[in-house]
Symmetry: C2
Subunit: 122 residues, 2 copies
DNA sequence: ACCTCAAATAGTAATAGTTCTTATTATTAT
DNA sequence: ATAATAATAAGAACTATTACTATTTGAGGT
């Protein structure tokens, strides 16, 4: 993959936040640095960076958001503020359980824990 | 909510399968019974049935699929055949853990366990 | 520094899934 | 049976994403 200033900028934007931005948000931030950047470039590069293992995508409803954390992990989603926060849930039991009960070989567990974060609990 | 033959047909279609069909698939099945039914009617009614608690929706990537099972449960997704199968994972530990560690009140855990089902394991 | 050439880009058209609009039809209370 | 209004069919519109294409750019060789 050849160097491109656009791709590096896109990578830096995603990697400098834990907000899990979507393509549109990355595009808006990128425009401040590269006014002529196009939305297609953002989509193409986010996909390439994901295929390359530099980023990972997560679906929030029907839209893709990008995560700088490529290690296996899960998310807490607050339905009051929409925030998505990385969290690690111990899932070895789940993996072995699925194997034993259903002969199902687990590759990945996509888990989003939905609820209300401490900011909105009084 | 007033009675409609279209809505009852849509409900019956989703409730008669465990295949978790999407809107397009429900539409195609509904057309066999009501040739003039429109796609908008399918979308509108699926949404209403979900709001009513008769069905629930799950996202498979970025598309919505409908599930007759409205009880809390999770899914196994085989990446070979795309099949989505209901499964119950014990998650009381997760709920109490999130509360204790992050003061996060859990409403629901959306969990899709991705891997290979026994049909494709030799 | 200049040339070459494939890879990447900007701009725009196209697509997929879904929601909205509107004139017409169907259900239900009276 | 009639009136009031919720639901429909048909198609336009919208949102997120991907594809197309002429032009530009990065990197290696000269």
């Amino acid at each position: 993959m050849r160097f491109s200033y656009q791709r590096e900028t896109i990578r830096d934007i995603v990697c400098s936040t834990n907000a899990h931005p979507n393509a549109g948000q990355v595009f808006n931030l990128a425009k401040k640095l590269i006014p002529k950047i196009s939305l297609g470039t953002v989509y193409r590069n986010l996909k390439q960076l994901e295929e390359n293992g530099d980023l990972r995508s997560i679906y929030d409803g029907n839209i893709a958001r990008y995560d700088r954390n490529t290690e296996p992990h899960n998310h807490l989603k607050c339905k009051k503020c929409g925030a998505l926060v990385d969290v690690n849930v111990h899932d070895n039991d789940i993996r072995s359980d699925m194997k034993k009960k259903f002969q199902f070989t687990v590759d990945d567990i996509e888990m989003t824990i939905i609820g209300t974060c401490q900011k909105h609990t009084k």
